[in-house]
């Protein structure tokens, strides 16, 4: 068996100081070699692991024979954001986890092959999609993130007239404001969105639903509505010192860097505090993104402070490894108790307590318990809180009948239907903060449900 092709990376020392993409992508030769590892199982398990059900063995077989154009066409049958998914999907717990080869060792690098196909097409010029015969039905999609874009693409392909309403000035949702340039170049997001525009989708930015119009208004103006409003409200810990100058939510820090391009200040007008010693609280992908961004902004030391152990880190392994290679310090089994105040209400450090793992909690992970008397102080001038986000309640103003769960998430049935007729929802607004691909899967499901509804009403 041929070994899995390694992904070429920018050198760790160098990349820790720039915002260019870290993973460089396979060459044609590498892609063909990697594709040749696929056994083309008769009953391919990998497809079951894909939330958008890409014909994985199908497109890999086309790569094998060098038919890259056909391969991307196969992917695009079910996935309108291939270049994004090839970069940010957690394949190791989805398609690749179920690959037969994974049992014997290394699975086929499905994600990297998907990325290769999308990048190859982009270099050659994306094929303009053929528009479908109009159905005469109109659908409003709220939020231009992964869920909304996917739902919009599928609905447009079915012939419906789709309008997306986006509150920010740019499209892409978390792909644009959250995930950094070095992991997902914004030019790629823009091109994927352009493709969706070419399908006939009308994109309105600067348009805040809940303020300009309510959900109720949209239900009247359109035949159906999809809510892909995400989980944009940052959680804080509620500890002393959290409002000091120099404490950021990961959302704010990343939005400044990614959406507003603060790393290019003053050429771009939005400033950001460039810390010398930065502490990031949390252990997910967002925490890794924030820590690695802080390093690239010139910090001398960036630490991840996480209350559980290495095995419990919710971030993708690949991102944890990338972060370690770049020099991010991991202070595991450590929990902040309070943020210490320096001059002029700025941050001067964080008092932490050491933790040990006790019994498993309801999430199945062993819950951390503080070790008495282990308080210690870590110096810091910037603290970034990356402990998760909640759905944004603003959209709900003026939509009384919409059933919402205890954590502010929108309640849906197995077909993405909300409690309101002709309104579906999906993505982080329903699940709470999760992955790009699960939001896309939900967008697809909702598009199917809405299409059925429009065809039968």
């Amino acid at each position: 068996m041929v070994a899995r092709q390694l992904m070429p990376h920018q050198d760790a020392k160098e990349r820790a100081r720039n915002f260019d993409e870290v993973a460089l992508g396979y060459t044609k030769e590498q892609a063909i070699a990697e594709a040749s590892r696929c056994l083309e199982c008769r009953n391919p398990k990998c497809v079951q692991g894909c939330p958008v059900n890409i014909d994985i063995p199908g497109f890999i077989a086309q790569i094998k024979t060098g038919n890259f154009g056909d391969a991307i066409a196969t992917i695009k049958l079910t996935n309108s954001l291939a270049a994004v998914c090839g970069r940010v999907c957690p394949q190791e717990v989805q398609c690749e986890e179920l690959c037969v080869l994974a049992k014997k060792g290394e699975p086929v690098a499905i994600g990297r092959l998907e990325r290769f196909c999308a990048d190859h097409e982009r270099e050659k010029g994306v094929v303009t999609p053929v528009r479908t015969q109009p159905s005469g039905r109109r659908v409003a999609v709220i939020g231009a993130g992964p869920a909304g874009l996917t739902a919009a693409a599928d609905l447009a392909k079915a012939g419906h007239a789709v309008t997306i309403f986006e509150a920010l000035h740019d499209t892409g949702g978390v792909l644009t404001y959250g995930i950094p340039e070095f992991r997902l170049p914004k030019a790629i997001v823009r091109e994927e969105v352009d493709y969706i525009r070419q399908l006939g989708v009308d994109l309105k930015v600067d348009y805040v639903i809940g303020k300009i119009k309510t959900l109720e208004d949209l239900r009247g103006d359109f035949d159906a509505v999809f809510l892909g409003t995400g989980a944009g409200l940052p959680n804080f810990m509620g500890i002393e010192g959290e409002n000091l100058n120099g404490v950021y939510s990961a959302n704010e820090f990343l939005t400044r860097v990614n959406l507003m391009k603060a790393y290019l200040f003053p050429d771009h007008g939005t400033p950001i505090k460039r810390g010398k010693r930065v502490i990031v609280v949390g252990g997910g992908n967002v925490a890794m993104d924030a820590a690695r961004s802080a390093l690239r902004l010139g910090a001398e030391e960036v630490s991840i402070v996480y209350r559980r152990g290495e095995d419990e880190l919710p971030a993708r392994k690949e991102e944890v490894e990338n972060a370690k290679e770049e020099g991010i310090v991991f202070r595991l089994l450590t929990n902040p108790v309070r943020i210490l105040e320096g001059e002029n209400m700025t941050v001067k450090g964080v008092e932490c307590i050491s933790m040990e793992l006790g019994e498993p909690d309801e999430s199945g992970r062993r819950s951390p318990v503080p070790k008495e008397g282990s308080e210690h102080i870590i110096d810091a001038d910037i603290v970034i809180i990356a402990i998760g986000t909640s759905p944004n309640p603003m959209i709900l103003s003026g939509s009384d009948g919409l059933k919402v769960g205890s954590r502010g998430t929108i309640v849906v049935d197995g077909s993405a239907r909300t409690s309101l007729e002709n309104v579906c929802a999906g993505g982080d607004a329903v699940t709470g903060a999760a992955t790009v691909i699960s939001a896309m899967g939900a967008g697809k499901l909702a598009a199917r449900t809405i299409n059925d509804y429009l065809m039968n009403n």
Partner: protein
């Protein structure tokens, strides 16, 4: 998107009025709300409280003072120029009810956001006493409009060049001392003015509302940069406000957080000036 500037004029030294064509925003706008604008692709997003709006004509009026790089750039724009982004209306509308007699206080460019509230409170059936103030008479904006919209108007200037020689809060205090029953005081202006006003009214037990304008990016609750402490609780000014009970606001925190990027702003100004000079 792009939003055309219908009219732009200087109304006081370094203070400008701009009418921006934004029909969706104008149609939905209410007194007390704000917008966020971005001049072009590389600009920052800045929040500005709505000074007036006309749903029929489809425009929103903003009034701003030249402070940093962005507002200076904005000041150089003229009629028919376009803004890249103009988002709103954001924040909760002012809680305008029929209460009796209310005092509305505007300091400096804070007079601008007070103006639509004066109209709204008056329409709701209140007697509106307005007090406007500035450093000197040249910096007083919307005086005629405020005169027309209010039942009574008082003017104060720091240098005594017009009206009461001193602060707007002193005028408000006199009215409170006169024994007239005041149901509510709304104060909008620089944070230090709002802080002083809150301290002044507290012993009278008069409900006092302030409109906060902290640093923010998205204005929809996403970044949390605009967090303020109100009654010991953290609130996001963009979605929970911008209006809060003045007696509960931690103004020191607000003022400190407003100064967060002072050094970056200075660096930016320097670069800006350097570029200008090299162009000469």
């Amino acid at each position: 998107m792009s939003y055309t500037i219908l009219e732009k004029k200087q109304i006081a030294p370094q203070v400008h009025l701009m009418k921006v064509l934004a029909p969706d925003v104008a149609k939905a706008a209410k007194a007390g709300q704000f917008i966020i604008l971005r001049i072009d692709e590389t600009s920052e997003r800045i929040p500005l409280t709505i000074a007036d709006f006309d749903a029929g004509e489809g425009y929103v009026t903003i009034i701003f003072q030249e402070m940093g790089k962005t507002t200076k750039q904005l000041a150089k724009m003229s009629d028919t120029d376009v803004l890249q982004d103009f988002v709103g209306p954001l924040g909760k509308p002012a809680d305008v009810q029929k209460l009796g007699t209310v005092i509305l206080v505007g300091g400096g460019v804070g007079i601008a956001p007070v103006y639509p509230q004066v109209k709204a409170y008056r329409e709701a059936g209140n007697k509106v006493i307005s007090i406007i103030g500035a450093r000197n008479k040249d910096l007083l904006v919307l005086e005629d409009e405020m005169q027309d919209a209010s039942d009574e108007l008082y003017v104060a200037t720091d240098d005594g060049s017009k009206g009461h020689h001193g602060f707007v809060t002193e005028v408000a205090k006199k009215i409170l001392d006169s024994g007239e029953k005041i149901a509510r005081i709304v104060v909008i202006g620089p944070p230090i003015l709002m802080k002083v006003a809150a301290g002044m009214t507290a012993p009278y037990g008069v409900e006092t509302i302030v409109s906060l304008n902290p640093i923010m990016i998205d204005g929809t609750g996403m970044c949390g940069g605009c967090r303020v402490s109100v009654g010991g609780e953290t609130k996001f000014a963009c979605v929970d406000g911008p209006e809060f009970d003045a007696h509960k606001v931690d103004f020191n925190l607000l003022m400190s957080r407003l100064g967060l990027y002072r050094s970056e702003e200075a660096q930016c100004q320097e670069d800006h000036n350097c570029t200008c000079r090299s162009g000469n």
